[in-house]
């Protein structure tokens, strides 16, 4: 039992499972959830036995947004002085891979958190949206940037300016999610994919994540050079020797993260 009150934290073999659990508020994200997620992701990143993480919500809602009640009375000085929402950068600083398994609503902050993941697996009931404009604000946890990178300008603008919801099927077509699965098998599929990633050589997984993310931050030439240097670097690892030897010998590799 609980070091956490708003999330559930489990380890299943090498996969950490974090479930957002404020069902009475459709998993709305308040400062307590953020605090607990920061702690959970830091614990995951620091635990050598853990190789992939799945973040999920309930069948009804992944997360229905930031906690409006908590924010409604804030003024500019409070928000600016506390650098409100900056704490989420601690979640996105996670170096190891993680997946968002989205069932039901992922709206506003919920959509933004899902987009922080390395990729999203969605149930056929998932609904995405950035409806903040209707409240007189905008996305504030990186949503406008990440949705533009995921969907391109036209759809990103349409989503943010109208605040409309996007269903799972359209989200997959548009490139927001990696895969859509039936609601009943969402977690099984996400855990299966996570277990596959967890079985990969861990240093190569870290490098993959770092270089794909670089594609969104660097000009192409620099990104390609960054990739090449990381690729060269992996030839200094035991896992590269083992992986290539195993391939030649037609046997599964035994990886140590060294």
């Amino acid at each position: 039992m609980p070091e956490y009150n708003t999330i559930l934290f489990e380890q299943r073999d090498a996969v950490t499972l974090v479930t957002l659990n404020r069902p009475q508020a459709l998993n709305a994200l308040n400062s307590e959830v953020l605090r607990e997620l920061i702690a959970a992701f830091a614990a995951y990143d620091a635990d050598d036995s853990q190789r992939c993480l799945v973040l999920t919500g309930s069948e009804k809602a992944f997360a229905a947004g930031a906690d409006i009640k908590e924010m409604s009375s804030q003024n500019f000085a409070d928000m600016y002085a506390s650098d409100f929402f900056a704490g989420w950068e601690k979640v996105t600083a996670t170096r190891k891979p993680w997946i968002a398994a989205v069932g039901g609503y992922a709206l506003g902050g919920g959509c933004e958190v899902a987009m922080m993941a390395d990729f999203i697996i969605a149930s056929d009931t998932a609904k995405f949206g950035q409806p903040e404009i209707k409240l007189g604000v905008t996305p504030g946890m990186g949503g406008s940037q990440r949705i533009a990178l995921a969907l391109g300008k036209a759809k990103a603008m349409e989503m943010c300016l109208t605040g409309r919801m996007m269903g799972a099927e359209e989200a997959e077509r548009a490139g927001l999610v990696a895969k859509v699965v039936p609601a009943a098998s969402l977690l099984d599929e996400a855990l299966k994919t996570a277990a596959e990633i967890a079985a990969m050589p861990p240093l190569a997984a870290l490098a993959c994540k770092e270089m794909v993310n670089a594609a969104f931050e660097m000009p192409l030439q620099q990104g390609i050079r960054f990739e090449r240097r990381l690729f060269h670097g992996l030839f200094g690892t035991e896992d590269q020797k083992e992986g290539m030897a195993a391939f030649v010998e037609k046997r599964p590799g035994q990886f140590k993260g060294r």
């Binding site: 039992m1 659990n21 999920t56 309930s58 969402l186 977690l187 099984d188």
Partner: protein, 357 residues
Amino acid sequence: MLTSLFGNTPDVLLTREGPLGRIRLNRPKAIHALTREMCEAMSEALLAWRTDERVKAVVIDHAEGRGFCAGGDVVMLARSGAADGTDARAFFHAEYRLNHLLFTYDKPTVAIMDGITMGGGVGISLPCQVRIATENTRFAMPETGIGLFPDVGGGWYLSRLPGRVGQFMALTGARLDGAECRYLGLATHYVEQASLPDLLERLAKTPARAAGAVGAFTATMPEPRIAANQINIARLFASDQLEEIIAALEADESDWAQTELATLKSKSPLSCKVSLRLLADGAGRETFEDEMRAEYALASHVVQTHDFIEGVRALLLDKDNAPKWMPAVPEAVLDDTLDQLFKPLPPGEEWTPFPQA
């Protein structure tokens, strides 16, 4: 007629329904209080399901009658404690092994605390990953009232609650309702009893997604009453010394403090001191296994004290509700007495968990 797949007691029904391992407590005449046979049968089932590919999640609830689980068979414990204590130790050993097995179980576990959940019932629900409270939940660790202490992991769980609530619960045996349990994190979900059949059906469809499936049935809950008293609890129960807590309550003129003071004074002073020390130790323990080893040594000693035998007589056998505690006042409880009770058992007699698979 349902028959159990494990053990040979009718007091707990152990069956597999599709992907769910079902543990249904079935001893309605004692509000499903646990016996050693029940604990051993549940452990046998859990050990088998641990490696049974067909079982994806385990659900614990009660079958016929009211209440989830009122505790353990304390009348047997007191009888054994008055003799050589062998049967009592065997019970604790089996019960704590079950508690620890649940705590370390790697398939999703769900406890449905629909009704009275006390003592031993707390011990089999708090280690579960998904803990469902309902409008019927009445949750408490009332052991200080019968000269015992909050065991089954109480030293671990209660010491990890916010702002001295655990100490308050351990000393006064306060009863919490479902909303209060959810508020404090003792429960992970609040669901109405009427939704439970649908909830079980959904769990059978998505057993791996237990927390998410249960989340879909969450009901709006009433305001948790304890929230209003949390500041008082943190302030008045701040000390690890029983005498200082009593002095703080005496100095506070509020009705709430005076009511809690009267409750506290009806409990065994020895048990209260044991409980405070257990929670202070429990807060710093690294593993639940260490906790259970320490509680087993403590229980083995406490079960043979005057206060436990007298507490069971006064509250459960004669029902005169007038236990004569010895010592009668906190000041008379010697540190040396406590040291003796907390002494670890010699190697060979210590509690041990089930071997890991």
